[in-house]
């Protein structure tokens, strides 16, 4: 018998070879262990700067790509057993809800091959069927690589089985010894979860459930409880109001849990929303909500108001009391306070007059978290019999109770709390008295955190249990009485996570998983409320509503009598009586919210709609006060904005914060956004801003006696708009409601003309190519997009939606500073200026010197400016200047009206960007995907799951821009063709249009007369941006109308 021997190398034949023996014994090739490599001290000492790093990356990329000329072999791997519901390459939609404790929305989730890639609003939902920027961005939180991936005990991995055993034992002990078991959660309005908690309480009788909202609405909840006896919020329906007076209520932002966009939009829709014929002369019955805003920080709501008064918080209180006395009457003042002396006395009188005449069409709201203020506002509404405040339908999206939290901290410090279970709250970060909380935490024996991240709070806990994202969870919600919503997972959990409810059920000894529990609970308790309701249908719809009468017959006016108004006013005013110095308002940014999503690069890079600054929070200060204190904002040579630093002091708390000079900020007040300054569980790039919760003492939104001291040094802002005024150019057309209604179109939206030697001519007449152009053909589809500037509030959810749909890269703070933001859709914000051409004429500014002076002054915004927003994306010009200049035909015009970009063909001369009058083209200055230097979602394997496979991720050196979501229109056309029907508007809604909660963006085929766009196309308000250039855009704007 012969033994065959195979040899691998010549060396192998030598029996005694050392090398071969060694190789033979080591079956696997030894690699340098990552740990060894990373702990190499030499590496740490090496100084690799950013530029060096870029250099190395670049060189290796270049070398690799040059050598890697061979085509990549890609394998297609199909499902072995194809799931019934998935067709690879076709998107599916799941109806579900996002509830993260701060925001709530009923949404449709777009899925590809079993993974969600985009969130869209669920239009079937009567309430909360809108998505704001944070809801849109929350999909990226799902794919956050920083999430906690397995259960931990003191930072070490533990199995669920072991953990359950330990916790059950510990809880039983605590319960037996009579110590409190406290569950702290964010606002949860889930009926089934309430049931789960009940079960838990049954098992552990000392258990207690406390709801904690980082940004509290306790004031409104308590006020409502005082009036009606129920701790909830009234349902505000802005579409039913004709006049709204808001005292610092940012109801287009985060006021009382949000969700008021649709109502406001409907109220502001010029009354022509449902009319087929929108011709001039038929505007007699047009109506428009009139909006007054009295506020200190310029909020999104204030920016959209018809009348805005910059008034500091204390004066707001006086003004509200004044308004109360004028409307409800019978009250003139208390103690030393002379309420006749409000700074906006005349204006308040005017408002009172208007509100009175509007009667039940009036609405007064306040953003204060002071119960007494809320009582005053609600009372005015009750007195007006306002239709817009529905006291009978209760809203439950906010449940947090400030008192409970303070009591908990006391209880913890006194050692009464045996176990603390937190879910989805980050109290160490967000409590003003977080130090006391941490001290109390030491005295709690069992500390369990259930959270998606190891955040500031979780870090101090014994057990960290990862919970799944909303999109991986089952659940339900009842945001409003009778309005239910379901949450279904749209992806299998990415990590070893377990839902909060599952945990409680397990620990309560209920051996059933939460999904079955939920289904059973619904079948038993909720679906029975309506004839023929099935679980499947509800899950399919995502929402389920039951008609309830509530307590419609309750007579609140009588209940009100119990409230001692003099006492309420006294309490409201007491806060301000000792006021000295500057007042501080803490507000919440549209992008960052309460700070839970600090690790979300889309939100970090989303410019604030008002300040147009991303990656930061800052102290907003009025121009006048900044001048007095010698504070400045200035631009570096490359335009990047820098600002002075100040020390902000309130009592014993100080913080160093940059100042942002904000036109429209009330003199004597400053503003600071909550939600920034996260440090734990957040990537270093995203540890931005300062923690303002420090000053959120007793959950008071306003505080006084603030000291500001200028410091040396400067702060680098990432501001995307360096220039704030319109320079008196015809970019945004604006008119008053009165003019719009009564005057000829030419008076407020004149036809654009061009001066020629033969007098003024219309733009089309001076075009060198006569009407032989192919784009005029009415064959096939021709897509147009309209943006209604009256409805657009600048909320920026379209920007995030565009990011998600089109795989737009995040570039980081440094690159934003370099003015290289990649957003395909930007929302320009302009302030009015005191200097206009008319003013210049009056002042006799003429000649070269005078004109130069005029332009100089035009650059300065007014102290309390009017604000306009203008979303600008590619205008898809029929006569596109960019197309002509591309040497390689990388950008051409499509037959359906799009200006198309062939990324593959682009060589990156950037001529198109230069020649674009709208400056909407975005260039890939670096390789943004799969490049460690840009460590955002495009650079990690999990983060890349969010990418839309229908849209190419652009490489370095390539120009990109808005494509009018051509992947969506093409898919829609195909779908309609497949189903053998005509294209409908619903088939082809681009990301921005479907994300717009205000219906400001309308998209459709102008060759279809039934399309919604046709109406916009024929509207009197239509105008084109820079029409005089003759670019013939396929995007139109609708003149902004203010109800003045």
């Amino acid at each position: 018998m012969s033994v065959k021997k195979y040899w691998k190398a010549i060396e192998d034949l030598n029996e005694d070879s050392v090398v071969m023996n060694k190789l033979r014994n080591n079956e696997f090739v030894e690699e340098i262990s990552t740990e060894k490599f990373l702990t190499d001290e030499n590496l740490k000492n090496g100084s690799t700067s950013r530029r060096d790093f870029l250099k190395y990356v670049g060189f290796t990329t270049a070398v690799a790509s040059l050598s890697a000329c061979d085509g990549v072999v890609e394998k297609a791997i199909p499902y072995v057993v194809k799931p019934e519901t998935i067709t690879p390459g076709i998107a599916d939609y799941y109806a579900t809800s996002i509830a993260d404790g701060h925001d709530f929305a009923s949404v449709l989730v777009k899925n590809r091959e079993g993974r969600p890639i985009k969130i869209e609003p669920n239009n079937q939902a009567k309430y909360f069927g809108t998505t704001n920027a944070r809801i849109q961005a929350s999909i990226l939180e799902l794919y956050d690589n920083n999430r906690l991936k397995f259960p931990q005990q003191s930072e070490f991995e533990i199995s669920w089985h072991d953990a359950d055993y330990e916790i059950k034992t510990a809880l039983t002990n605590k319960s037996a010894s009579g110590k409190q078991i406290v569950i702290v959660t964010s606002s949860m309005f889930s009926p089934s979860t309430d049931e789960v908690i009940l079960k838990f309480k049954k098992k552990y009788p000392t258990a207690k459930h406390i709801v904690y909202d980082a940004v509290s609405n306790s004031g409104a909840l308590n006020a409502f409880e005082d009036i009606t006896g129920t701790r909830a919020l009234p349902l505000y329906e802005f579409d039913k109001a004709k006049i709204v007076v808001s005292f610092g209520a940012d109801f287009l932002g985060n006021w009382l849990g949000g969700g008021y966009e649709k109502g406001y939009s409907k109220g502001r829709s010029l009354g022509d929303e449902d009319k087929a014929d929108d011709k001039a002369g038929n505007k007699g019955d047009a109506e428009m909500l009139q909006h007054y805003q009295i506020e200190s920080v310029m909020s999104l709501t204030g920016a959209n108001a018809d009348f805005r008064y910059a008034v500091k918080p204390s004066e707001q209180t006086y003004a509200l009391i004044k308004l109360y006395s004028l409307i409800v009457g019978g009250y003139d003042g208390v103690g030393n306070l002379k309420i006749n002396n409000t700074v906006i006395d005349a204006e308040v009188r005017q408002m009172a007059k208007k509100l009175k005449s509007a009667g039940d069409n009036g609405l007064v709201v306040t953003g204060s978290n002071d119960k007494n203020m809320q009582i005053l506002a609600m009372q005015i509404n009750i007195a007006l019999k306002s239709k817009a405040m529905n006291l009978n339908k209760h809203v439950h999206v906010n449940k947090g109770n400030d008192k409970d939290i303070q009591q908990l901290i006391i209880a913890m410090n006194s050692g009464k709390v045996g176990a603390l279970l937190t879910y989805n709250v980050n109290m160490v970060y967000s409590l003003a008295n977080s130090k006391e909380f941490v001290r109390g935490l030491d005295k709690v024996q069992l500390k369990i955190s259930m959270s998606k991240f190891v955040d500031e709070t979780a870090k101090l806990m014994d057990f960290n249990f990862p919970t799944p994202h909303s999109l991986e969870s089952w659940g339900d919600a009842m945001p409003i009485d009778g309005e239910y919503a379901l949450i279904q997972p749209t992806i299998k959990p990415l990590y070893n996570t377990r839902q909060f409810q599952d945990n409680l059920l397990k620990w309560a000894g209920v051996e059933v998983d939460y999904y079955s529990f939920l289904k059973k609970f619904w079948q038993k308790n909720i679906l029975t409320k309506k004839e023929g309701a099935t679980w499947n249908k509800s899950l399919y719809d995502g929402v389920f509503s039951v008609s309830t009468n509530g307590n419609a017959n309750a007579d609140y006016e009588r209940g009100l009598l119990k409230i001692n108004i003099a006492y309420v006013v006294k309490k409201a005013v007491r806060f301000w009586n000792k006021t000295k110095g500057t007042e501080l308002e803490l507000y919440v940014k549209l992008s960052m919210g309460n700070g839970v999503m600090a690790n979300n690069p889309w939100l970090q890079e989303l410019p604030d709609p008002i300040t147009r600054t991303s990656w930061d929070n800052y102290l907003t200060i009025s121009q006048k006060q900044a001048r007095e204190l010698g504070l400045k904002n200035w631009n570096e040579a490359n335009g990047a904005m820098n600002g002075s630093l100040v020390k902000l002091t309130k009592g014993n708390k100080t913080v160093t914060v940059p100042v942002f000079i904000q036109p429209g900020q009330a003199y004597g007040s400053v503003g600071l956004a909550l939600g920034y300054g996260r440090k734990v569980g957040v990537k270093s790039e995203m540890q931005t801003g300062v923690n303002a919760y420090k000053f959120y003492k007793n959950f008071a939104k306003y505080s006084s006696n603030i000291e500001i001291e200028k410091l040396e040094g400067e702060h680098k802002f990432a501001c995307v708009q360096l220039h704030n005024t319109l320079m008196d150019r015809d970019i945004i057309r604006e008119t008053t409601f009165d003019k719009y209604k009564n005057e000829d179109k030419e008076n407020w939206n004149p036809t654009v003309t061009v001066k020629t030697e033969k007098g003024k001519k219309q733009v089309a007449e001076v075009d060198i190519w006569k009407s032989s152009n192919i784009e005029k053909e009415a064959v096939g589809h021709h897509f147009n997009l309209s943006i209604d500037l009256t409805k657009c509030t600048g909320c920026a959810s379209c920007v995030v939606a565009c990011n998600a749909e089109n795989n737009v890269a995040v570039v980081g703070k440094e690159e934003v500073r370099n003015s290289r933001d990649m957003h395909w859709l930007r929302i320009d914000r302009y302030y009015s200026s005191d200097m206009t051409k008319d003013v210049a004429d009056e002042n006799g500014l003429s000649g070269i010197g005078g004109t130069a002076e005029m332009y100089d002054k035009m650059e300065i915004a007014s102290n309390n400016p009017e604000v306009v927003f203008q979303p600008v994306m590619c205008q898809h010009c029929n006569h596109a200047p960019c197309e002509t200049v591309c040497p390689v035909v990388a950008t051409t015009h499509g037959k359906q009206g799009q200006n198309q970009m062939a990324y593959n063909r682009c060589v990156g001369t950037r001529y198109c960007a230069n020649n674009c009058p709208y400056k909407v083209r975005r260039f890939n200055w670096f390789q943004y995907a799969e490049n460690d230097e840009f460590d955002f979602n495009l650079n990690d394997d999990v983060g890349r799951m969010v990418l839309n496979p229908d849209v190419t991720v652009r490489s370095r050196g390539v120009m990109e821009k808005c494509s009018m979501c051509i992947q969506i229109t093409q898919a829609g056309i195909l779908k309609a063709k497949q189903e053998g029907r005509k294209l409908t508007d619903a088939d082809i809604q681009p990301a921005c249009a479907s994300a717009c909660s205000y219906n400001a963006i309308v998209f459709g085929d102008i060759n279809q007369k039934s399309s919604a766009i046709t109406k916009e196309f024929n509207s009197d308000r239509k105008y084109y941006l820079l029409e005089e250039l003759g670019t013939q855009p396929n995007l139109m704007y609708q003149t902004k109308v203010r109800n003045k």
Partner: protein, 463 residues
Amino acid sequence: MEVHKINTPLILGNKTYKDITDDVTAPIKNKAGKLWWFAFLLSFSAFLAGVGAIVYTISTGIGVWGLNNTVSWAWDITNFVWWIGIGHAGTLISAVLLLFRQKWRLSISRSAEAMTIFAVIQAALFPIIHMGRPWLMHWMFPLPNTYGSLWVNFNSPLLWDVFAISTYFLVSLMFWYVGLIPDFATIRDRAIKPFKKHIYSILSFGWSGKAKHWQRHEEVSLVLAGIATPLVISVHTIVSFDFATSIIPGWHSTIFPPYFVAGAIFSGFAMVQTLIIIMRKVANLKNYITIYHIQMMNKVILVTGSIVGLAYATEIFMAWYSGVELEQYTLINRATGPYWWAYLTMVLFNVLSPQLLWFKNLRSSIVFTFILSIVINIGMWFERFVIIVTSLHRDFLPSSWRMYSPTYVEVLIFIGTLGFFFTLFLLYARTFPIIAQSELKTILKEENSIAKNKQANQSKEIK
């Protein structure tokens, strides 16, 4: 012509044919001096630094420059236009002046043409490296490709540039080379070392100097000059189309073609001045490049400088006259906006400083001319910077108004091209016949007699 015949000879020192040959071939025959080595090493290291910066840019991305979404062109295209402009003087001197039978061109034409070619090389570099994906630069040519029948866009001024610059480069090169062949033959015939002889014999293409060949040579030179004249005007016209055909206020202007051509000649002559003033000193060519030559060029500079000034004024007038507010704003912003210093530099250096040339003693001062030539080139660089950056940084929508400042990479690349340019020029000065000696010999007798007459006249006057 008649006047200068009496007054100013173009060749001094009563040279003979042999003297000319000796003088012209001297730098090739002799070893390089310390000064040459110093200059060479300096420019070569600048060149290497530039190469490093270019490699870094291409390997990392254009993001290492200071450009942004609004100002997508700045130093890159500024440098491109500047170099192309400099290149223009060479062709103009040899072609246009040949057509006008200006004999003073003879001593400087060779170097001016060399300068053209070297400058065009620098210029051509920028359109390539400023691309986002320069490895695809061959897509700029109408080549069959993987996209089926996708060709290039003949509407694009950038494509016109591609054709204009490559044509210009090839034509200049041929023009230059055709003229060089007889002179190479001279060096070949005087070379002693076999290697040198071999090289120059290859370079001289076997030139023999037959009467028929000379006849053809002259004919070809004339026709080339005839063709190169419209070409040289077309090239900068086309370069100006990059801006003139766009819609950006400050760019969109019909005055650009003549304005750019004048500017190009202006800066080109300034660069020729810089180079020949150094060369006449270093290579000891004072007898061939005389004060008269320098004066003549200064006159051209004065004229073109005044045209440029007129163009600036016309721009301002047109902005006012057209009544287009955006145009007016752009002009006011140039002068009083954030880049006022660039505009001021441009006006001072380009419009005011050449006006000093009205004074004859300044015009014939070598030191002044040298300084002025550098000042003008700085000024002309700023002119392009002003046109490109100040027009872009504030255009239609104030929301996208931005600022631009360069990074060290851009600066290094610019320095690198200067280094490359001077490296080439220094190498040229040591290896090439720096004066078109065969042509110069045709006027030697005439010039000698002028010189004699002049001397005689002078001595008469003294008597």
